[in-house]
């Protein structure tokens, strides 16, 4: 078993209901390092339409910004795309004991996948709501009796939600889940991972964290990713927060009028930027976005298609788009952030692409940290080469 991984991946066939645990070859990690590069290989080997989840070697470690798991989609024509799954999902997914999950086929009835403690099951999901991704999360957490379970859920739209947070899925992962009759992917991680040099790893991580905090300065909240004019239209902010092991609190909690969800955590800068350009009442922006998110709609281009005013978004019926969303390679979840080698490397290592795109980072530091964790010398050039698979 390589350090920083458990050495197993799951092959889930929803058509047959089979869940197979497979060994992750050391050579695969040796060559591709991890993250979306390994997911790409697993999906390529399957060759048909499928989705996947996975983590990078640094996901869930004390490395700055190392909170990302990744969701991947492969279409029948072989095109692929990847999006980061943030908050605590990377850590929790990694500590389930499964490094990567490949999902294919279609279940005859609605189901959800439940992973924890190196156990994975396909569970009957007939009772889960079909048009409310947040409701899916609430129902699974209640049914399994643990409010800390992480739930990726689908709804009528293209975009999946993580727990009660949407806006990160610009690749149609939610649409693919719906097509498989897969209402949710739930997981809870309680395992422990081995590091090669734990003391040196923590010292290096702390050194990097200290440098990164200085770079961030006073930036905080989703408003820090918007123009001043757009930020001024977003009302009801309560406080800001970051994902696991991230010094940049780029998300914000907003008050809502819904007693079932008194606060809404927003990382969806793209939709907020689009809404802030629409005519209508500022006070309705959060309500409109909440409604769209629960229906699985969050991308800014979708909002532009469906309505003319913010009031319309609150009142008009919303429906699934007829066309599949265009796959866009590596979704960095942030309008204004351009693709870069550093972001591609983040999709290998488990580092948030927004963090890398907005704050920036020195790859040499991450390579040094990875070498300490995994127990062999890995250079930034090695990481760049592994990331070439994603271009």
């Amino acid at each position: 078993m390589p350090h920083l991984f458990f050495g197993t991946w799951l092959d889930i066939d929803l058509s047959s209901g089979q869940v197979e645990e497979r060994d992750l070859p050391d050579e695969l990690i040796g060559e591709l390092i991890g993250g979306a590069a390994v997911m790409s290989k697993l999906m390529e080997d399957y060759s048909g339409e499928c989705i996947s989840l996975g983590t990078g070697p640094l996901t869930g470690t004390p490395c700055p910004g190392a909170s990302a798991a990744f969701a991947g989609v492969r279409r029948g024509d072989g095109s692929t795309a990847y999006a980061p799954v943030m908050l605590n999902a990377g850590l929790e997914l990694k500590l389930t004991g499964f490094d990567f999950i490949l999902i294919h086929g279609r279940s005859e009835r609605p189901v959800y996948i439940w992973m924890r403690d190196q156990v994975a099951d396909i569970v009957n999901g007939s009772g889960l709501p079909a048009e409310d991704s947040w409701g899916v999360c609430s129902a699974i957490r209640k049914g399994q009796g643990d409010p800390r379970i992480q739930v990726i859920s689908s709804s009528v739209g293209d975009c999946a939600s993580l727990n009660f947070v949407s806006g990160w899925d610009g690749i149609g992962f939610g649409r693919s889940m719906s097509g498989m009759n897969l209402r949710g992917i739930a997981f809870r991680g309680m395992g422990e991972l081995e590091l090669s040099e734990p003391e040196d790893f923590l010292s290096k991580a702390s050194e990097l964290m200290s440098k990164e905090r200085e770079k961030i300065g006073t930036r905080e909240g989703v408003g820090s990713l918007l123009s001043p004019e757009a930020a001024a239209r977003i009302r009801g902010i309560k406080r800001n927060r970051s994902c696991f092991s991230c010094p940049y609190p780029c998300m914000s909690y907003f008050a809502t009028d819904d007693p079932a969800y008194e606060r809404m955590l927003l990382m969806d800068q793209r939709s907020l930027a689009a809404l802030a350009e629409m005519p209508g009442q500022d006070e309705l922006i959060i309500e409109a976005l909440m409604r769209l998110h629960r229906k699985g709609m969050c991308a800014s281009d979708k909002i532009g298609e469906t309505s003319g005013t913010i009031e319309d978004l609150v009142n008009e019926p919303v429906s699934k788009a007829a066309e599949e969303p265009q796959l866009n390679g590596l979704d960095n979840i942030t309008k204004g952030v351009e693709p870069s080698d550093a972001i591609s490397a983040g999709f290998i290592l488990g580092i948030c692409p927004r963090y890398l795109g907005v704050i920036g980072a020195e790859m040499e530091g991450y390579a040094e940290l990875l070498s300490l964790g995994i127990g062999r010398e890995i250079s930034s050039e090695d990481i760049r080469k592994a990331a070439e698979r994603l271009s």
Partner: protein, 81 residues
């Protein structure tokens, strides 16, 4: 960092804190209400989802340079006398 655990109360939104086992066995609780020092057994409640704090090694401040303070992403921790 093995001498500490995070805790929170489900029923109270946003209620998080940290317990550190100090040398001598006493427990220091950093809570939203403030800092409290207690002996093992004086703290009630909590779930068993983490290794019990009393079974953990005591904090030796990493020899004078606490790693948790150096690492803390949000600078929520600081070293005081």
């Amino acid at each position: 960092m093995a001498s500490s655990i995070m805790f929170h109360i489900e029923e109270e939104r946003g209620y998080f804190g940290i317990i550190v086992k100090r040398e001598g066995g006493e427990l220091m609780l950093g809570k939203p209400e403030g800092v409290e020092v207690a002996r093992p057994g004086e703290i009630s409640g909590g779930s068993a989802s983490a290794k019990p704090i009393t079974m953990r090694p005591a904090c030796d401040m990493c020899g004078g340079d606490p790693k948790c303070v150096a690492y803390c992403p949000g600078k929520a921790l600081e070293e005081v006398e």
